[in-house]
Amino acid sequence: MEKIEITLNINDNPYEVMIYPNDTLLDVLRDKLDLTGSKESCGEGVCGSCTVHMDGKPVRACLTLAMEAQGAKIKTVEGLANVDELSNLQQSFIDHGAVQCGFCTPGMLMSADALLRENPNPDEKAIRKALAGNICRCTGYAKIVQAVAHAAQPQDDCCDCKSKE
């Protein structure tokens, strides 16, 4: 198989990269571009740890060929924060204890971020549906769901995150 050169637009930066036609977007992000925030946990599109955005839609980077991503605006977890400032969603994940081992977190954030762009006021059911393809072993999901709800509609007394003083 011959390598080909493609250009990818990732987090608003152009990357020229030599790839094999069967390289997945996840392989290219992680191994060729050192954007290791996107994680591989199952490699078969079930767990959602590798979720990135293509033109604003969440996709599984492990099931997406890098070639397919040409011409699209790709966003990864590395592109969620504005240089120094975390996004509301990222901050909310921290405040609510939605992160434990953190391996599912990049994918969770990307799925949740895509939801909030589509639906700024999701109810719990919509949040759970949007996260249904993202597996987490540590948290039991409760605090992740709270974090997303809070990022959508910050409330002073939304949950136990406010027990801190």
Binding site: S41, P106, G140
Partner: protein
């Protein structure tokens, strides 16, 4: 204790900002210069002779740097009973047997090379059921033991037999007795980050192993034993942890792939990384130990337990890891969950050609508690006593010494049961049937360390620089549980600084002092106690400096003022207030006089004193303190008795379920998880542990099962292994009981594992309350519910 600035507060975890931005470096993300990738070829059969291995094609593949088989490396034996070699030769005993390994310049080439290795096998009869394996004439999984002596049976030479009191007397004292057979199956830990490591040798054959273990010094011990067998005795071993993508027990033992990466690195003289695929995680990593229990219990007319007799059989698989030691933890609920005077427990571990097992959150406790709590319900029913009332009668009390000689100190058991009663509205809901029901189960677990090795200690080092910044060299690990943040809170509180002043370094054997491991829910308790002691020492060093420098700094300030303002009159201060370090304290970065905390002049930033004391004129100093906390506990004696933990956790889960009698599906309507945690050090992190553990417990109860057929794992992926997702809504209502523990740091006890332990039996008991059939074999799948209803004659 209400004046704490940081303890008891939901201080956010320090590492989280890296985790939400993709900066956190897991083993997956680590690369070393010149690094090669290792892959393993596993057996094709559950039991077979290896006739020949031909690696020539694999070796010729461009990019391959080494191909190893068991015939290329020393016959060193590893594992708890030293019953396996790293690469297998002559005989394979399970599908996951490692037959060959390849190092190549990419994982793809290494995988391709594995496919090119030709192995000729001669199949042998296998045995896949522990009861079959115990029969005379069953195929022997091991023809010889670790020392080369012929074996006669598949039963492991492990002495798991416990006796306290007199079972026969207990029977005589009983008005009611019940017998149940209860079983649990294999479940996978399902860490989202898969297993992996990088082995790297220097020119002198000293090893650095980039890793994700939670027992860093245990790793050093096991690898040095291995080194002694392969001609590397005395070589240095350093374990350096990456950020860990979950552990749940998987990183307790040193696994075979780690020894393989070491061998490949030795052969190639390059760093070699092995990273498991998800399929390998299911097929080639030891899961939770399954067990089958015959349990018999009795009580008198008043409902007081009279005896408990349990015989367990454990399918050990082909080799031993920590799965074979789970009976040591099973003993705890068997002998000490509820007051029971006469106890017999025996566990028989049996070799089969199935996968072998290791630790998972709770160790053997979830299995054993499923047995005890199923039996508690059947016995309550036989005695005609409400199951909640029955448990209240038999609950443990502060001050009890159990038949295993566990000394119960703080114990919020009664509060936990009462919380379930109230929150579930137990009295109204119990026994209404019609597909809806309530059930409960409780737990006891170690919560103040667990002396399973001779030292149960934990070392910590605290050093403070001239800016008042604190480096804490911690010997524990963070697999996501968050206890390092709790340690940060404790250091901030005990030293008088702020959490943001503190940097924690952990998971590196070259830096850390010895520790028994971040396991057994012990980290907060052990490291917390060690941290308080170390901070007291460091604080004393700072206060000694303060005594020396505070008067000078204050007087110097007055002199400067006077230079600027000739009318300034130096106040007449009682410097006696700050003349003794005992009279000073530090809080929130300020040093002050204890006798007059608001004194206008005797309050000085700690960084000012440190700059003066560390870098100023006169004798140079450092502020550094180390401490080692080893609790006053006992190892279990020959009879398996002894107070192995400094305190114990108690908790009760109450569950309300709705069972669809047409589909057999069980829906959790409410799950109350009441836990005696001593003291909630960080409420958000604590609740994270309770929610997460309860959820994994629900999976254990209802959906999760590694399907093993004739030794082969049939569902090695998330598609077919039924983990709960965000769509499986389980309303968990945590109740935090805080009696305070006099031996715990600021009153805290361990809480990492307990949440999982009572969940599955509480569900099973609720299912029984809902539909009147009792499922005694986990998980409680719709198929099993329907089959049980059919047997009862309710469903055609």
């Amino acid at each position: 204790m209400s004046d704490h600035l940081f303890v008891g507060k939901s201080v956010p975890r320090t590492i989280e900002a890296d985790k939400v931005t993709g900066r956190a470096i897991y083993i997956d993300d680590m690369k070393r210069p010149g690094m090669l990738y290792g892959k393993i070829l596993y057996s094709k059969y559950a039991h077979a002779k290896i006739k020949s291995i031909d690696t020539s094609k694999a070796e010729k593949l461009p990019g391959v740097r080494a191909v190893l088989t068991g015939y290329d490396i020393p016959d060193a034996r590893v594992g708890f009973l030293k019953d396996q070699t790293v690469l297998k030769k002559d005989v394979v005993r399970q599908f996951r047997d490692e037959v060959a390994a390849v190092a190549a310049i990419s994982p793809e080439i290494a995988e391709e090379a594995c496919r090119l290795i030709e192995v000729e096998y001669e199949q042998l009869p296998g045995v896949f059921d522990p009861f079959e394996a115990m029969k005379e004439g069953a195929p022997l999984v091991h023809e010889v033991d670790a020392r080369g002596r012929p074996t006669k049976s598949n039963i492991l030479p492990l002495p798991w037999k416990f006796n306290a009191g007199d079972i026969e007397q207990g029977r005589k004292d009983s008005a009611f007795t019940v017998k149940d057979t209860v079983s649990t199956t294999w479940v996978n830990q399902c860490c989202m980050g898969t297993s992996g490591c990088i082995a790297e040798f220097d020119q002198n054959n000293n090893l650095t192993l980039y890793n994700q273990t939670n027992v860093i010094f245990g790793h050093v011990g096991r690898i040095s034993e291995y080194f002694a067998q392969i001609g590397l005795k005395g070589k240095k071993i350093r374990i350096v942890n990456a950020i860990v993508g979950g552990s749940f027990g998987t990183k307790l033992d040193t696994d075979i792939y780690e020894f393989i990466s070491i061998q490949l690195a030795l052969k190639t003289r390059k760093p070699v990384k092995i990273l498991f695929t998800r399929e390998e995680e299911f097929k080639a990593l030891p899961p939770r130990q399954p067990a089958i229990f015959d349990i018999e219990q009795g009580c008198d007319k008043e409902g007081n337990l009279t005896f408990r007799k349990v015989e367990a059989v454990l399918d050990n698989g082909a080799y031993t890891s920590w799965g074979a030691t789970t009976p040591s933890v099973m003993l705890m609920p068997m002998s000490s969950l509820y007051r029971v005077p006469n106890v017999f427990f025996q566990a028989t571990c049996v070799y089969t050609n199935n996968i072998y097992c290791q630790a998972m959150r709770g160790y053997g406790n979830p299995q054993a508690t499923f047995a005890v709590e199923t039996s508690m319900d059947t016995l309550a029913e036989a005695a005609g006593i409400d199951p909640l009332e029955f448990r209240m009668i038999n609950r443990n009390h502060p001050g009890d010494e159990t038949p295993m000689r566990l000394k119960i100190t703080s114990c919020g058991f009664e509060e936990c049961i009462n919380a379930v009663k109230e929150k579930l509205n137990w009295s109204e809901k119990k026994g209404t049937k019609k597909g809806r029901g309530v059930g409960m189960a409780s737990l006891i677990h170690v919560a103040g360390g667990a002396r399973v090795t001779r030292s149960d200690g934990h070392g910590i080092m605290v050093k403070v620089n001239e800016f008042g910044q604190v480096d804490v060299i911690e010997s524990g690990t963070d697999q996501g549980q968050g206890s390092p943040t709790v340690i940060t809170q404790i250091v901030a509180e005990a030293l008088g600084v702020r959490p943001e002043d503190i940097s924690l370094t952990f998971g590196d054997t070259a830096l850390a002092l010895w520790d028994a491991g971040t396991h057994a829910s012990r980290h907060t308790f052990m490291a917390g106690n060690a941290a308080i002691m170390a901070c007291e020492k460091a604080k004393r060093q700072i206060l000694d400096m303060a005594v020396e420098h505070m008067p000078k700094i204050i007087k110097g300030g007055f002199k400067r003022k006077k230079r600027k303002d000739p009318d300034f009159v130096e106040p007449d201060l009682d410097y006696g207030l700050i003349a003794d370090p005992e009279d000073l304290d530090i809080r929130d970065r300020m040093i002050f006089a204890k006798k007059n905390p608001d004194h206008p002049h005797f309050r000085i930033p700690v960084s000012q004193i440190l700059r003066e004391g560390l870098l100023g004129s006169g004798e140079s100093k450092v502020v550094v303190a180390e401490e080692f906390y080893d609790p006053p506990t006992e190892m279990l004696d020959r009879e398996f008795k002894g107070n192995l933990s400094q305190t114990y956790a108690f908790g009760t889960s109450g569950v309300e379920v709705e069972v669809d009698e047409k589909t057999g599906e069980v829906k959790i309507v409410n799950l109350v998880a009441a836990h005696d945690v001593g003291k909630a050090m960080n409420p958000t992190l604590l609740l994270g542990q309770i929610y997460g553990a309860a959820y994994t417990g629900v999976g254990y109860g209802l959906t999760e099962e590694i399907k093993v057929v004739n030794g082969r794992v049939m569902n090695p992926g998330f598609r077919d292994y039924q983990m709960l997702t965000a769509m499986d809504v389980v309303p968990v209502e945590p109740v935090v009981v805080e009696p305070g523990d006099e031996d715990g740091p600021y009153g805290a006890k361990g809480v990492g594992e307990p949440g999982l332990v009572p969940t599955a039996p509480a569900i099973a008991n609720a299912v029984y309350d809902a539909i009147g059939v009792r499922i005694k074999d986990l998980p409680i799948t719709p198929e099993k519910v329907l089959a049980a209803l059919k047997e009862r004659g309710d469903v055609c």
